[in-house]
């Protein structure tokens, strides 16, 4: 089984044998790969019916649940890593979710699309229209992405809540890294994978 490039980046950050909670786990591809290759025991949280069935079909433990209904009943330190891939921008209270993630596990891995990418900026500046791009494919009125942000916005939120960024990988829409996006990530990066740890950690 080959893993989607963005999930590969996440998988590389998950230690062998870790207990993993995947918020918005989609079809369960990451958890299935981690179970097979890393001896990981994982659980997915998902709200989409079709995706849940696909998780069950591949033998991934999945709980149907709306992240917006809260995560307070998940145990503190119940996991080693909480993953949230391309889901942060779709939750109602991203800051609260991030805090819960770092309560549930000492480490979190978060990916989201960058609204600060130069194409988005150009589209907004020149055409005056909300950008549609490969990594942001939805029209403004029909998008699950209610909290789009830039890398700079996200890092500001982490600083405000004293969350430590211990790792950051910035890639383009093809999940490749290049010189420009390493130097000016907020301008040239389309997707970032952040490793977060607790305040002061």
């Amino acid at each position: 089984m080959t893993l989607r490039p963005d999930l590969k980046l996440i998988a590389a950050m998950v230690p062998e044998g870790a207990r993993v909670l995947d918020l918005g786990c989609g079809d369960g591809a990451l958890l299935a790969w981690l179970a097979e290759h890393r001896g990981v025991r994982g659980y997915g949280i998902e709200i989409d019916e079709g995706q849940i069935t696909r998780c069950i079909a591949r033998g991934v433990s999945v709980l149907e649940r709306d992240i917006d209904e809260g995560l307070s009943d998940f145990p503190t330190d119940g996991f080693d890593v909480v993953v949230m891939a391309e889901t942060l921008q779709a939750v109602r209270k991203p800051g609260t979710v991030l805090e819960h993630m770092l309560r549930i596990a000492p480490r979190s891995i978060v990916t989201f699309p960058n609204f600060g990418h130069w194409r988005c900026r150009l589209e907004l500046a020149s055409a005056g229209r909300m950008p549609i791009a490969r990594h942001l494919p939805h029209a403004w009125h029909d998008t699950p992405n209610i909290h789009l942000c830039t890398f700079a916005d996200f890092e500001a939120l982490c600083a405000e809540r004293s969350l430590t960024i211990y790792d950051r990988k910035v890639v383009n829409a093809h999940y490749e890294s290049a010189w420009a996006m390493n130097h000016w990530p907020n301008l040239f990066g389309t997707i970032a994978v952040y490793g977060l740890s607790r305040p002061g950690a």
Partner: protein, 382 residues
């Protein structure tokens, strides 16, 4: 074994009930014991060579061993879970050897209050001992032994049947591969118990109940049973479901002059109550509702649901229905989280369905798809 009825390739076809007699004494959780007992059951599909594809169906309050198929060609109705059991269905009899039985204390052929008490030569009636969910599971294990089934690929049940599926994973952790508990709960709420008590009062207050010895008196407390079933039936439906089915439609009478008015929902409930009172034993109803009330596996684990799930080995599938207010989604979600905390393999699905608690018996597409997909993923040896 069933031959496929020509009309439906997804039916298990014609089936026959079988029975096994067990020597006593059979010890019960209450401290009492049964001298000897009989269990009636049905089987669908074929047990494979290494006996690894057996799947147990546990029935709910009013269920029995006839879960799928037909008894003869004129049989108007198939078994109670025919929507889910059959070749190519969610519980696929091409893959699984499915066993369904009538529980101890039942009134469909297994030893129960209508059976003769060997000590007196009269029907047990109210003297039939209290049986609990763990007692049922022990009797089911005796049947499994008799059938040569060391380990179930899965134990599956809805409502009270789901409780038995959970109990299996606790009582016999090494004998269950997967537990599927549908529209179930780890314990009844005060409201649940209250409804059960009203139903019991309806039965015991019927003058024909005769302190449970109605069989010897040659009468049946049909009025009480009817009322109990009508009450139960309302709690198994959702407000939306009843509205969709009946609304305020009038069956007889005239709403304008308020004379002899009978709403559709009234006649429906009366029909349900009447047909139930003809086929169900009042003492069995009392006994089964008591078993529901007493079920509380976490009690033995310091009321700690996480510790309860930690004592299991089976993986779990939990399914709830959004409009089920009898055993609401929150109960299944609570179990799912406890199982997760205990490190069990667990999946939980909350199916959007208008039919309330009864949805577990109905052909709700997403529900049957999830159930089928999950069971498909279990790998009994070929």
């Amino acid at each position: 074994m069933a031959e496929a009825a020509p009309s439906d390739q997804h039916s298990v076809g014609l089936v026959t009930a079988e029975s096994e007699d067990f020597p006593g004494p059979f010890p019960l959780a209450s401290g009492e014991s049964l001298p000897a007992y009989r269990l009636v059951y049905e089987c669908y599909g074929t047990l494979n060579a290494d006996r690894s594809n057996a799947l147990l169906i546990c029935h709910a309050l009013s269920g029995h061993h006839h879960a799928a198929g037909y008894y003869d060609l004129e049989d108007p109705k198939p078994g109670w879970w025919d929507t889910a059991i059959g070749p190519g269905k969610a519980i696929d009899t091409n893959r699984f050897f499915v066993v369904a039985l009538n529980n101890l204390g039942g009134c469909h052929g297994s030893t129960g209050p209508t059976s003769l008490n060997p000590a007196t030569g009269r029907p047990y009636g109210p003297d039939f001992p209290t049986v609990t969910v763990p007692d049922w599971v022990n009797a089911q294990a005796a049947l499994a032994n008799r059938l040569g089934i060391e380990r179930w690929a899965a134990v599956v049940g809805g409502s009270l049947g789901g409780m038995q599926a959970l109990q299996w994973a606790l009582s016999y952790p090494d004998r269950v591969g997967a537990t599927v508990a549908i529209a179930s709960t780890p314990r009844l709420s005060a409201q649940n118990i209250a409804f059960n008590e009203i139903a019991r009062q309806a039965i015991t207050a019927d003058p024909d109940f005769r302190e449970g010895r109605y069989l010897e008196a040659g009468v049946v407390p049909t009025a009480g049973l009817r009322l109990a079933r009508m009450l139960g039936h309302v709690t198994y439906q959702s407000d939306d479901g009843l509205r969709e089915k009946f609304g305020r439609a009038v069956r007889t009478g005239d709403l304008d002059i308020l004379q002899d008015v009978q709403f559709q929902v009234e006649s429906y409930l009366q029909y349900q109550g009447k047909s139930f009172s003809r086929r169900f034993d009042a003492n069995t109803y009392l006994l089964m509702t008591r078993a529901l009330d007493y079920f509380d596996p976490a009690r033995a684990y310091g009321d700690d649901l996480v510790a309860t799930f930690a004592a299991m080995k089976a993986k779990l599938l939990l399914i709830s229905f959004t409009t089920d207010w009898r055993f609401p989604s929150a109960r299944s979600r609570e179990m799912a989280l406890a199982a997760l905390r205990a490190g069990r393999e667990v999946s939980y699905v909350d199916v959007d369905a208008a039919q309330g608690h009864d949805a577990f018996l109905l052909p709700v597409p997403r529900y049957l798809e999830v159930l089928g997909t999950y069971l498909q993923g279990l790998e009994p040896s070929p």
